[in-house]
């Protein structure tokens, strides 16, 4: 797991707003990850958390 993936998993595990997105939109093999969360909005470089929590 890359460093950024690890951070996304840790952030999601600690996040009260995590909500698993549709299976078709999940891109991480770790189910509970910001990368699979309905509240992430993809950008060209990364993603934004629409619940206003930041992941660097």
């Amino acid at each position: 797991m890359s460093s950024s993936d690890y951070k996304s998993v840790q952030a999601a595990l600690a996040c009260p707003h995590f909500f698993l997105d549709d299976e078709d939109e999940c891109v991480s093999d770790e189910e509970i990850s910001c990368l699979n969360c309905r509240y992430r909005r993809w950008t060209q470089e990364s993603f934004l958390c629409m619940k206003k929590q930041s992941v660097s």
Binding site: D21, D24, E25
Partner: protein, 247 residues
């Protein structure tokens, strides 16, 4: 009569996704006896600050063989369906391409490919749809979803873009199946390694958490990679979500 149906921008952050609406629309087409549908594919479009996407900017498309005479009924149903079922604040668009009557196939494909790399406008989308005789309609909000709906149709038409919606559940006691059995249970046309050969029927594949098909060369394709865990029992393994996200 072969058609493509594509929808985009029907959801908001709290609602059910566009993929689910596409599947419901396909089910309604069959339930009403208007024709037979093929599985829904997801097509990734350009992610850019100037585009008002919800979270990932993808369009959902399915092909159908529609009974002649029922196209108008289906089109009317689809328009009402999108207007009724799309989420508050969304900008839904509907595209229906009658493939047999399409003159500018290459132009539609080019539009789809551009939509993966550029910000396009409603004016461009309507102009192309009108020129090619494609149904394109908006059903709420700004109607910007017509751009993705037209683009998604073009990308499906390439035959090599997108992932099929949903994943397969394969019945196996060991987690390992041969290609023939994998094709029988999933209905995929091809099992192929990424960037490599098409697998033979007897070759063994170890199944991962996600068994999911992509659209390649016009066929539903299950991609595999060399098995790094248990190559002695199965030389191949199914792809991870991470590996499939580029499709």
């Amino acid at each position: 009569m072969n058609i493509l149906v594509c929808i985009d921008d029907t959801d908001n952050i709290e609602s059910r996704g566009t993929g689910e609406l596409a599947s419901l629309l396909a089910q309604a087409l069959e339930k009403n006896g208007w024709g037979k549908t093929e599985p829904v594919t997801r097509h990734q479009l350009f992610v850019h600050p100037d585009i008002a996407y919800t979270s990932h900017n993808s369009a959902m498309c399915f092909a159908a063989d529609i009974v002649p005479g029922h196209l108008a009924s289906f089109t009317g149903f689809a328009k009402e369906f999108l207007a009724r079922e799309s989420a508050e604040g969304s900008d839904p668009g509907l595209c229906i391409v009658t493939i047999d009557a399409l003159a500018g196939r290459d132009d539609l494909i080019a539009f789809g490919r551009r939509a993966k790399q550029q910000v396009l406008t409603k004016q461009e989308a309507y102009g192309l749809a009108q020129r090619l005789g494609i149904h394109l309609s908006e059903h709420g909000g700004t109607g910007l979803g017509i751009i993705g709906a037209l683009a998604g149709s073009g990308l499906r038409m390439t035959g090599s873009d997108g992932r099929f919606r949903g994943k397969f559940y394969v019945d196996t006691a060991t987690g390992i199946v041969d290609v023939a059995e994998l094709k029988r249970q999933t209905g995929v046309a091809v099992v192929k390694s990424i960037g490599g050969p098409v697998l033979h029927e007897a070759e063994k594949v170890q199944l991962g958490d996600k068994v999911k098909a992509v659209l390649l060369e016009g066929r539903s394709t299950l991609l595999v990679t060399p098995n790094t865990m248990d190559a002695a029992r199965a030389p191949w393994q199914t792809c991870t979500k991470q590996q499939l996200k580029v499709y």
